[in-house]
Amino acid sequence: MGFGLLALRASRTSSAINRSCFSTSPTLLISRIFASQSPNPSNRHSRGIVSTPELLQNAEATAEAPQPQEIHPPRTPLAGARVHFPNPEDAIEVFVDGFPVTIPKGMTVLQACEVAGVDIPRFCYHSRLSIAGNCRMCLVEVEKSPKPVASCAMPALPGMKIKTDTPVAKKAREGVMEFLLMNHPLDCPICDQGGECDLQDQSMAFGSDRGRFTDVKRSVVDKNLGPLVKTVMTRCIQCTRCVRFATEVAGVQDLGMLGRGSGEEIGTYVEKLMTSELSGNVIDICPVGALTSKPFAFKARNWELKATETIDVTDAVGSNIRIDSRGPEVMRIIPRLNEDINEEWISDKTRFCYDGLKRQRLNDPMIRGPDGRFKSVSWRDALAIVAEVARQVQPEEIVGVAGRLSDAESMMALKDFLNRMGSNNVWFEGNGVRPNADLRSGYLLNSSISGLEKADVFLLVGTQPRIEAPMVNARIHKTVRATHAKVGYIGPPTDFNYNYENLGTGPQTLLEIAEGRHPFCSALRNAKNLAIIVGAGLFERKDKDAILSVVDSIAKLGNVVRPDWNGLNFLLLHAAQAASLDLGLVPESDNSIESAKFLYLMGADDVELEKLPSDAFVVYQGHHGDRSVYRANVILPASAFSEKEGTYENTEGCSQQTLPAVPTVGDARDDWKIIRALSEVAGVCLPYDNLAGIHSRISVVAPNLLRVDDREPTLIHTDLKPDCQQKMSTEPFCSAVDNFYMTDSITRASKIMAQCSASLLLKK
């Protein structure tokens, strides 16, 4: 800033003072003078900081001469704001800018405005967090109220006349904005929030082009919150959304508001990383650039990114996400609103696994030569070799394993292909031996994720939802916080972010509860809606049938399965698990892998390959050079979830679709296409050539998979289960997921996830 500019500013200020008005430009001043004389209040509005006397005069003028009642056309509620009347008697009517809206009692003025289709600017208010009311940006004028009212914290009262677009409201917001911008650095050009910053957007409407603050701006020391969240604390406007998020949603009381007055800052006081599996969400809720994504820092501007609405496959929840890509590169992943599944949060694994999509990718078909090294070949050669080997072995020696990230289409194709080859040994890697694929209620989260909010007692059996499915855990946390629901847990010691009771570690405790000997039984009996959640980690135990029959008897004890409530839940671990069971990927023989001569791994990296005979021929079809590649004889490169259209069914039985956001890497192809091509080379051509064809095949096997974004509820049939003769072992339950950040080939290839495991897991 040169001398000239400063001089200009000084002279303007002085002239403004001389005229007892802070207006800055001559034209504005003229218009102001003109406006104060004109009776029409509509052109009274002018930008810049207005002085008080004039405004008071205007307010008096409007009070004296009441305006004729304006008739507003009905407006559509903002952002799908819905009005739900739990009790019709509690409906009240308020007027927003003269437009009458009917809302339930207890709604705030801001919510009433949203229903009326008026967007109120806000920073601290967030519909999923508690109300703080500290940013004052949402000030509105309420008739008969002497001062502007903070609409986010003010309950709407019957007959309230709310005015959102009056000079008083506008001036109040301009004042707030000036104070907010006073200490806010002018670093929008180097700020990652630029383009999606609430402060930037709202300063367009309420900001002045100059401020009156001539002092030194304050600066705040940046905090280290770990490898995921980058902090530039000078930009913070103290809205405390992150503090409330950490406390109320993530359930880790790490962040706080330290100091007071102008020295106020967000921090942890004693340096501490934010050890939450949901910490990435503070990036989204931060209205300014104080908390931004560390891996995404300085990588791209949000307006140059292409958004693709898809779903996440790193866990069985199927969180709705938006992949932002630039060219062939996934730049970031952010959540998408889905009230039934992930609300508007996603886990850190979902959000930051994307750099795994760029590393360790398989891009060419490869064959292991006699020297043990892989050699790139053409698709034709690779398929020819695979088909030839497959034809040479006995049909029962052919085994196919679908991996954790497989979509329903490719699993269908794999099963069809192997069946046509004469083998029925096709299975999914996380289901254990003899999985129950007959009754859908035997492997799904029957009460649905959002339905968990109705539960008042939880019994977690061998599952640690916090690391297995953070979004389900967030629901449980929400329920526990809202209704003080009781949580009982059976399993190894672990971290919970809500109050829980550790009942025991193994099947013994389960038996005690079933026999009514355990002190927790009284809670179970008194529960209205008991939710039993059984972890899918138990599916891999040898005595799982015995355990499940004990769980069934507990369910009977707590009257869990009723027509209005099905609280016997199974929490799956992998994105493809529910679909694999729906499609019936169940092996014919229990020890198929020991006798396999031809093993077809479709992205399966967690199969125990030690038992495999050394002369077995292993085909690995997948997108990452992960564990199984070391044993593979042939590699067939496939596309990852961000590159293909595929159907996934989440743990509650809701089928959803991924959409391709970026092109495939190298010569890779979609999984089902590879199998389709291979079937032709092998001489057992599959009868579908496109997705529509494969969908019509799926509609025969599992039609629910095709009803996208629809949850197919399970039927209740408790009597169908055969009696169990198995003996339960006393071996305690073990945790199904060792490292939350690394569970599949994508996350294992991710550098960010590796950093997280190194720095965040140690603390736990």
């Binding site: 001398f3 400063l6 001089a7 500013r9 000084a10 002279s11 200020t13 002085s14 001539t214 002092d215 030194v216 304050r218 020391v221 905090k223 009381q253 790490d254 962040l255 706080g256 508001m257 330290l258 100091g259 007071r260 020295g263 106020e264 800052e265 921090g267 942890t268 006081y269 004693v270 340096e271």
Partner: protein
């Protein structure tokens, strides 16, 4: 005319460039975040003394058992009294208590997350979160005292002791801080000398009023020698808050309050 305007504009430009004399006046003794130091780290064991544990129970009894967190301010105050006038981070939430399974830290006593205690401790400037001297000299900086020269007094103190604000002298005897209005405006300027060296039973918190830069140095020297300077006004011509040289008004007997003539009713 032109010259006058030019001069005015020049003065305004200079005003813009001139840095404020005190860029930021922090009222608290420490930063809003914790930095480990040998005498202040979460690893240092800390515990309420046996006598104070009784007082902790007594303080907690003032509040309903489901609102234990209400006791956080009195408990922090007690911890500060016990710890020589300042509050180490381990008093709020020590990683290791002195005895195993003992939960005698403020965050544990009131059963809240440590950050909730830190929030309170950083909010209130009377909680000293860094080490203070044996005598913590608090200069009142609010308007009446400031008009009567509290800045000069602070300057004299800092110069005499050779420290900066909130710094402890080498001998550990003194530290100087600032405090907001302590209600002695009629005897402004004033300082408070906080002496917590006798623990939570015998700590003193003395006011020295009507001080001058010269007198404040004398007070400091008396304290250094172990003497007890007379508290209250330091102006020999004043008696407490009375005017200098005796009363000048209201010398006669006060009139009784006016009363209705009851007989006339």
């Amino acid at each position: 005319m032109f010259a006058r305007l030019a001069t005015k504009r020049f003065l305004e430009i200079r005003q813009i460039f001139r840095q404020p004399s005190q860029p930021s006046r922090s009222f608290s003794t420490a930063l809003n975040y914790h930095i480990d130091s040998p005498d202040n780290s979460p690893d240092t064991p800390w515990e309420f003394s046996v006598a104070n544990k009784e007082r902790v129970k007594e303080i907690l009894s003032h509040y309903p058992s489901n609102y234990k967190q209400s006791a956080v301010i009195p408990l922090l105050d007690l911890a500060q009294q016990q710890h020589g006038g300042w509050l180490p981070v381990s008093a709020m939430n020590a990683k290791y208590p002195l005895q195993k399974n003992s939960s005698s830290r403020v965050a544990k006593v009131v059963k809240v997350a440590p950050i909730r205690v830190y929030e309170v401790a950083t909010f209130y400037s009377m909680f000293n979160r860094t080490k203070v001297g044996k005598y913590h000299l608090l200069v009142c900086g609010t308007t009446p005292c400031m008009i009567r020269g509290s800045r000069d007094i602070e300057e004299a103190l800092l110069k005499h002791l050779g420290v900066k604000r909130n710094e402890v002298t080498k001998d550990g005897l003194f530290s100087v801080g600032e405090m907001e209005c302590m209600g002695c405006c009629v005897n402004a300027p004033m300082i408070t000398v906080a002496d917590y060296s006798k623990g939570s039973e015998g700590y003193t918190y003395n006011y020295y009023e009507d001080i001058t830069p010269k007198r404040v140095v004398e007070i400091v020297e008396m304290l250094r020698r172990g003497e007890a300077p007379p508290v209250g006004t330091q102006n020999p011509k004043r008696i407490r808050s009375g005017p200098e040289g005796g009363n000048t008004t209201l010398l006669s007997e006060p009139k009784p309050p006016p009363c209705r003539d009851l007989d006339a009713c």
